[in-house]
C-alpha cells in the first residue's frame, strides 16, 4: 500500500497552515510527525483522513487519485483517525462502541453485517486478551479514563485491518500502563502491514515508536529522517534551526515578587513551585491542555500554598484568583470564555466594569478605545464570531487587561492563530511587562517560550525538571 500527498496546501482565511506539503506513506512503517504549534500537524491528519479537503494538491491511494475525499470514503478505503479528543459515545458500552464502526467497513446489508459482527467481536476480545486488558466491556465508556478510551478506539480500528492509522497526540498525559499497550498496538499494526502516522509533541515517544521522522516547520514538512540515524537532541536542533521566527524580546531589570506557588501537587503533578515578579515573563513548557497536568488544575484544584505579595492566598476558583489580582486566560477552552452569538462589547467588558452601571455611550467608548489600542478592525456592536481566532483572542486579552490584574496567565494563547495576530500579541505581552505586570505563558512552542520569556520552567512527567534563566536577547543555544 502506498499513499501519497503531493503539494498539498491548506489555508484558513489569510492563515496559511500547510504549504506544498508532500509525503509518501508506505504500509508497514511508522511515520512520526512533530513540529510547530500552528495546527499544521493536525491539519495533515485531517486531510489524510478526509476530515477536511486541501485547497491545493492531490492525494493518491495505490496510484489512484482520491477524488472528493471525505471521512466515509477514507474509512471505506481503510484510513482511520484516532485523536486526543475521544469519539467514544459516552453512554454506550465499550463493546457497542468498538463494534460501532463495522457498518462502515462492510458495505453489504443486513446478513453480511450480522455474520461479520460475530467475527469482529471475537477479534477484539482476542486483542484485549493479548494486551492484558481485563476491563468489563459492558460498562458505559464514560467510566473509562481518556487514555483507555483512546486504546479502545485503536482496537476498534485494528480489527478492521486498516491500511493507514493516524494517531494524533494520543500519548499526551497517558499513564504508563496504557503507554505499554500503545507500544504493542503500534507494533502489531505495523507488522500486519498498516501504515501509521504518529503525531506527538513528545520527542522521546516519537523516537521510540517511529521508523521515519518528519518535522513540520513553518507549514512545510522537512527532513523525513530515518529514526535510527538520529537522536532527540538532533531532531530538536533541526527543529529550532529551521524555525526562523523570532518573537520580539525586551529586557527589563527584575523587580519585586508578586506571585509564588509552592509545592503544588495532585495525582500527576509533584512539587510544582514557581515565582513571578513584576515586569517578568515566566514561560512553562510541558503542561497539558486539560486534566490534572493543566495549569488551570494546578492553580485551582491542587494542594499546596500560594502567596500574593508575600501573603498567603486561597485560590479555588476564577473569581478568587481575580480578586487576588491573578487573571487567567485559558485559551485551550476559548469557547468557555466567549458568548458566540453576542457582540464584541458584551464579550470584552468584564463584570468589574459592568457593575459600575455606566451609560451605553461610555461603555461603547471604552470598547472602541481598546479595539483601537489592540489594532482590531471592528466595532463594539459587531458579532464576535465574525472575527478571526487571533482577533477573538485579542478581545479576550482586552478583557483581561480591563480586569486590572497584576498577574496575567495565558495558556496556549497563540495556538492556531494568524501571524499578524501572533506578532501583535507578543508585543502586547511585552507592553504588559513594561507596565510592571507579571506574566505566565503556558505553551508547547519552544521557539515562542524561549523567544520571549525571562524564566523558563520545563515540566516532564509531572515534575519541574529544569528552570532556565533566559534574560539575554534571543540566544538559541539556551534551548537545550
Amino acid at each position: 500500500m502506498i499513499f501519497t500527498m503531493a503539494e498539498v496546501s491548506k489555508r484558513y482565511c489569510d492563515n496559511v497552515v500547510l504549504e506544498h506539503v508532500s509525503m509518501k506513506i508506505e504500509g508497514g512503517k511508522v511515520y512520526g510527525l512533530t513540529g510547530d504549534n500552528g495546527g499544521g500537524k493536525s491539519t495533515i491528519a485531517n486531510i489524510v483522513c478526509g476530515v477536511v479537503a486541501p485547497d491545493e494538491g492531490s492525494l493518491m491511494m495505490d496510484g489512484k487519485r482520491c477524488i472528493n475525499w471525505n471521512i466515509k470514503k477514507a474509512m471505506r478505503e481503510g484510513v482511520f483517525l484516532v485523536a486526543h479528543e475521544t469519539t467514544m459515545l459516552p453512554y454506550l458500552s465499550v463493546e457497542e462502541n468498538i463494534l460501532l464502526g463495522i457498518n462502515f467497513v462492510k458495505r453489504n446489508p443486513i446478513w453480511g453485517t450480522f455474520i461479520h459482527r460475530m467475527k469482529y467481536k471475537k477479534k477484539y476480545k482476542e486483542l484485549l486478551k493479548r494486551y492484558g486488558i481485563t476491563l468489563d466491556t459492558s460498562v458505559t465508556s464514560i467510566r473509562l479514563s481518556r487514555s483507555m478510551q483512546n486504546i479502545m478506539e485503536l482496537i476498534r480500528v485494528q480489527i478492521c485491518n486498516p491500511k493507514i492509522v493516524v494517531i494524533d497526540e494520543v500519548d499526551t498525559n497517558m499513564d504508563v500502563d496504557s503507554q505499554k499497550v500503545l507500544d504493542k498496538i503500534i507494533k502489531d499494526l505495523a507488522c500486519a502491514g498498516s501504515a501509521i502516522i504518529y503525531i506527538s509533541h513528545n520527542l522521546e515517544s516519537i523516537m521510540k515508536r517511529s521508523d521515519v521522522i518528519g518535522i513540520l516547520v513553518e507549514n512545510q514538512v522537512i527532513d523525513m529522517m530515518d529514526a535510527s540515524a538520529v537522536n532527540a537532541e538532533s531532531v530538536m536542533d533541526t527543529l529550532l534551526r529551521l524555525s526562523k521566527e523570532k518573537p520580539p524580546k525586551i529586557l527589563l531589570r527584575p523587580q519585586a515578587m508578586i506571585f509564588e506557588m509552592k509545592h503544588i501537587h495532585n495525582t500527576i503533578i509533584e512539587d510544582f513551585s514557581i515565582e513571578v515578579r513584576e515586569g517578568e515573563i515566566v514561560g512553562i513548557l510541558g503542561l497539558d491542555k486539560e486534566g490534572d497536568a493543566s495549569f488551570t488544575n494546578i492553580l485551582f484544584q491542587s494542594k499546596g500554598v500560594k502567596f500574593f505579595r508575600g501573603k498567603e492566598v486561597k485560590i479555588g476558583m476564577p473569581q478568587e484568583a481575580a480578586d487576588s489580582g491573578v487573571i487567567l486566560l485559558d485559551a485551550n477552552v476559548i469557547q468557555n470564555y466567549m458568548f458566540m452569538n453576542s457582540s464584541i462589547r458584551e464579550n470584552m467588558l468584564p463584570y468589574s466594569i459592568l457593575k459600575k452601571h455606566l451609560s451605553d455611550e461610555l461603555l461603547n467608548e471604552i470598547c472602541r478605545r481598546y479595539l483601537k489600542k489592540l489594532a482590531i478592525t471592528a466595532g463594539p456592536e459587531d458579532k464576535i464570531e465574525e472575527l478571526s481566532t487571533g482577533q477573538q483572542k485579542k478581545i479576550l486579552i482586552a478583557k483581561s487587561i480591563l480586569s486590572e490584574g497584576e498577574i496575567y496567565v495565558f495558556d496556549r494563547l497563540t495556538d492556531n492563530i494568524d501571524v499578524i495576530s501572533r506578532i501583535d500579541i507578543y508585543n502586547i505581552i511585552n507592553e504588559l511587562k513594561r507596565n510592571g505586570k507579571g506574566i505566565v505563558l503556558i505553551s508547547n512552542d519552544f521557539n515562542e517560550i524561549f523567544g520571549i520569556s525571562d524564566i523558563v520552567y520545563k515540566v516532564k512527567e509531572g515534575k519541574i525538571i529544569q528552570k532556565i534563566n533566559n534574560d539575554k536577547q534571543n540566544d538559541k543555544k539556551l534551548y537545550r
Binding site: 513553518e218 526562523k244 518573537p247 520580539p248 529586557l251 527589563l252 489594532a375 499578524i420 508585543n427 534571543n474
Partner: protein
C-alpha cells in the same frame, strides 16, 4: 469651581488623554460651553494646547538644547512618535552593550534611557546625542570623528580622513527612510549611507527604526536588502505583508501597544 481649579483639571486631563472635548468638559466640570472655550483660550496662550474644532489637543514637545547655540537659541523638537520609538529601542538594550546611535530623532530618547543602564558604550556621530549623554557616568560615549556639519549637528566621517572606529558593535540603531519588498531599504543622505555600509561589516545586529511613511517607498541610496536587518522598531499601521515577511524570516519586530 473657580477658573483656576478648572484650568488645573483641564491641564491634567489633557496631559493624560492628549485630547479634550468641549461638550464632555462642560458636562463633567458643570459649566457652560462658553466658559470652557474661554478656559481653553487661556491654556492655548500658555502654550500647553492647541484649540481645534470641538475641543483641543495637547502640544507635544520635548526640547533638546543644541550643542552649538544659534541666535534664536534653536531647540530641536521631537515628535511623539519618535518618543515611542526611542522607548521601544531602549527596551532591547542590555547592560554592557556596545551600541551605535545615528542622528535620528528617536535616538535622542534612546540616549536618555541609556543613562539608566550599566556599562553601555555608545558610538555616535551626533553632537545632540553627545549632549544628552554627557553626564553618563556608568559607561562611555565615543564620538566618531569627521568634519563638522552645522545643519545636521554631526561630525561627518565620510571622506574626512578620520577612520571609522575599528571596534565590534553589538547593536546599531539606524533610521531608515525607505523600505520596499523588492528594492530593499534605503536612506536619503550619503553620510548615512556610508555609515550603514561601515556598520554592516562591524555590527553584530542592525536595529532599523522605521516609521510608517517609510514603507513601500524607494529612497536615494539603497543600503541593504529588506531582510538584512535583525530588529525592526516600528509603529502601528504598517502594511501587514511587511510584518509577516519580517517575522517569518527571523527579524524581531517591535511595536508599541498603548494599554
Amino acid at each position: 469651581m473657580f477658573q483656576i481649579e478648572r484650568l488645573q483639571m483641564i491641564r491634567q486631563m489633557i496631559r493624560e488623554q492628549k485630547t479634550v472635548d468641549v461638550i464632555l468638559l462642560s458636562k463633567s466640570l458643570r459649566v457652560s460651553e462658553v466658559t470652557i472655550r474661554r478656559d481653553l483660550e487661556k491654556l492655548e496662550s500658555e502654550g500647553i494646547l492647541t484649540r481645534t474644532y470641538g475641543g483641543a489637543v495637547l502640544n507635544e514637545t520635548l526640547t533638546v538644547p543644541s550643542l552649538v547655540k544659534e541666535e534664536e537659541d534653536a531647540k530641536r523638537v521631537i515628535s511623539e512618535q519618535s518618543k515611542v520609538l526611542g522607548e521601544l529601542s531602549a527596551s532591547i538594550v542590555e547592560d554592557f552593550d556596545i551600541l551605535f546611535l545615528d542622528r535620528g530623532d528617536s535616538n535622542l530618547i534612546l540616549a536618555e534611557k541609556i543613562c539608566s543602564k550599566n556599562g553601555v558604550v555608545v558610538f555616535t556621530n551626533s553632537l545632540d546625542v553627545l549632549e544628552i549623554m554627557r553626564k553618563y557616568k556608568n559607561g562611555k560615549i565615543i564620538l566618531i570623528g569627521g568634519s563638522f556639519d552645522y545643519s545636521k549637528n554631526i561630525l561627518c566621517n565620510f571622506n574626512s580622513g578620520v577612520p571609522f572606529p575599528d571596534r565590534r558593535i553589538n547593536k546599531a540603531f539606524v533610521h531608515i527612510q525607505a523600505a520596499d519588498m523588492e528594492n530593499g531599504i534605503a536612506v536619503n543622505d550619503n553620510e548615512d549611507a556610508y555609515l550603514y555600509a561601515q556598520l554592516k561589516s562591524k555590527a553584530g545586529s542592525i536595529v532599523a527604526i522605521m516609521e510608517k511613511p517609510v514603507f513601500d517607498k524607494i529612497g536615494l541610496y539603497k543600503v541593504d536588502d529588506i531582510l538584512g536587518v535583525d530588529y525592526v522598531i516600528t509603529e502601528e499601521g504598517i502594511p501587514d505583508r511587511y510584518k509577516t515577511y519580517f517575522y517569518k524570516n527571523g527579524v524581531q519586530l517591535h511595536q508599541k501597544f498603548d494599554l
